[in-house]
Each structure stands twice: as C-alpha cells, then as structure tokens.
C-alpha cells in the first residue's frame, strides 16, 4: 500500500516534470513557457518529495520533506515573478496571439521606485570610489 502510494506519487511527479519539459519547449513565448514550465515542475517536485515522505515514514524525514516542499512552493512563484517582471521590463516579445497588454506604457510607473532607489544608491558612493571616478 505504502509502496503503491509512493509509486503513484513518483510517476505523477515525473509526469508533471515531463509536462513542464515539453511546455518549456513548445510554448510560443516566454511568459507562456513559464506558465507551462515552472509550476508544473514545482508540483512535480512536490509530488516526489511527498513520495519520499510516504516512503520513509520516519518523522525526521517526513518533516524535512515537508519543509522542502514548503520551501519550493514558497520560492517558485517568487522566482517566476522575478523573471517575468524582468523579462517584461526588457521587452521580451509577447506571442503574436496575445490579445491584451494593459501593462504596456505603465512599466515606468511600476519601475520608478526602483530607479530612484538605484540613483539613491549611486549618490552615496564610498570615498574611495569617489576618487576612482575622479581618476578615470
């Protein structure tokens, strides 16, 4: 029974990953590749970690498996968000079939604080660097 569950989880996990793999190859633009890939893969990894939990059953393993899963589920979307955001900011082309882009033209609005923040950082360089700039 235990093995059964494990087996199923593993296979499902594998399937999700395969799906992700195919997705990242097949999807026509970056955003949809991400849509197809990262999440499916995350689920797949989750399944396999669950499989580990089920298979070993020991509490230490289970808890760690759960922690890892949680960690993956926390980080994956953040990572995806970061890439997508960056990608959009460098104007990675959208698929021709894209029907709407309400973000277009508003990026600067969104990006503004980043800009400030950046210039703010550059405004206070270390004295040494200051000299370097003079010297260059």
């Amino acid at each position: 029974m235990n093995d059964m569950v494990t087996a199923v989880l593993i296979v499902v996990g594998g399937a999700f990953m395969l799906l992700a793999g195919v997705g990242i190859v097949r999807m026509p633009d970056l955003f949809m590749r991400m849509q197809a890939a990262t999440k499916a893969a995350t689920l797949g990894a989750g399944c396999m970690l669950m499989a580990v939990a089920v298979h070993f059953g020991e509490l230490t393993v289970v808890t760690r498996a759960l922690l890892v899963t949680a960690f993956v589920f926390l980080t994956a979307p953040v990572a995806a968000h970061m890439i997508a955001r960056a990608a959009y900011s460098v104007r990675t082309p959208l698929w021709k079939g894209t029907i709407a882009d309400e973000f277009h033209g508003h990026e600067d609005l969104a990006r503004q604080p980043a800009r400030e923040n950046l210039t703010a950082q550059q405004a206070i360089p270390s004295p040494v660097e200051g000299i370097d700039r003079l010297r260059r």
Partner: protein
C-alpha cells in the same frame, strides 16, 4: 507576542528537524530561535500569519482544486499540437493592502498555472497579471475571476 510566536515556530522547526521531541531539545530550539531572531531582528518586519487556522485549511482545499484544474488545462494545451490559449496581460486593481496580503495573493496567482503575476504598480494599487486563458477575449471577466476568486478568499483569510 508575535515575536514569541515566531520563536516558538523556530523552536518547533528545530525539534522536528533534529527529530528528538524532548523538553531539553525544545529548549535548545527556543534558545537558538531566540538568538536568530535577535540576530535577524532588524531584518524581519512585522507580519501576521497563522491566525485563523481553520480558514487556512478551507482555503487550502479550494486552492488545491484550482491548481489541479488549471494544471490539466495547461497540460492539455501543452501536449496537444494546436494552441488554444488566448493570453494577455491584464491589470487587476487590488483591494489587498498589506505586504502580506499582496504577496500571498501574487504568489498564489503565480502558482496557479495559467496566471502569472508580472508586476505591482508603484502605488501598490494595481497588480499586472499575465493570463493564458482570457476566455472569449473578455478581459474584464478574467479580471473579475481573479478578484472574486483568489483575492476575495485571500483577504477573508488574512483579515
């Protein structure tokens, strides 16, 4: 109070991960957690989690359903030769205010296949989302789905 909660959490994490459920080890965990919080205290702002545990469960079930459905839809699209998706970037006006609300919402959106949180407007009032399936090209409908679906639940969960 919140700090103490944190501390307890860390201590627990410690005990389970070392696998020795004893008072002594819990104490060790508490002490450790205490120092870490002390150490990282400057870094951690204030945030409220783990209130309303039952809602968590309920929400989890709902979300899991969403997840599977969405996954199947994307999967179908991936494996079948023709592309059925009608993608687009839509602006979702937010009722969510606190960092936690916005973040959780964004992450859940992103985690669901088919939608992807792109960016947050500078005034944190609008969340730009890339959606794969804007059914019959109705942007507002897609917007509504997100607000009525995920956001509402997230908010009642966190408020």
């Amino acid at each position: 109070m919140r700090m103490f909660l944190w501390n307890l959490l860390l201590a627990l994490a410690w005990t389970v991960s070392t696998g020795q459920f004893t008072v002594a080890n819990l104490l060790v965990g508490l002490v450790l957690g205490y120092f870490i919080l002390l150490f990282a205290g400057r870094a951690i702002g204030h945030s409220s989690y783990f209130s309303k545990v039952p809602q968590v469960v309920g929400f989890a079930l709902f979300y899991l359903g969403q997840l599977i459905l969405a996954n199947l839809r994307v999967a179908y699209d991936v494996v079948t030769p023709t592309h059925y998706m009608q993608p687009g970037v839509i602006a979702v006006p937010l009722d969510a205010r606190t960092d936690a609300e916005i973040t959780l919402l964004a992450n859940l959106i992103t985690l669901t296949p088919g939608t992807l949180a792109l960016d947050l407007s500078a005034d944190r009032s609008v969340l730009y989302v890339h959606a794969m399936y804007i059914d019959n090209r109705d942007v507002d409908e897609a917007r509504r789905q997100i607000k009525e679906g995920l956001e509402r639940r997230v908010l009642e969960l966190l408020r």
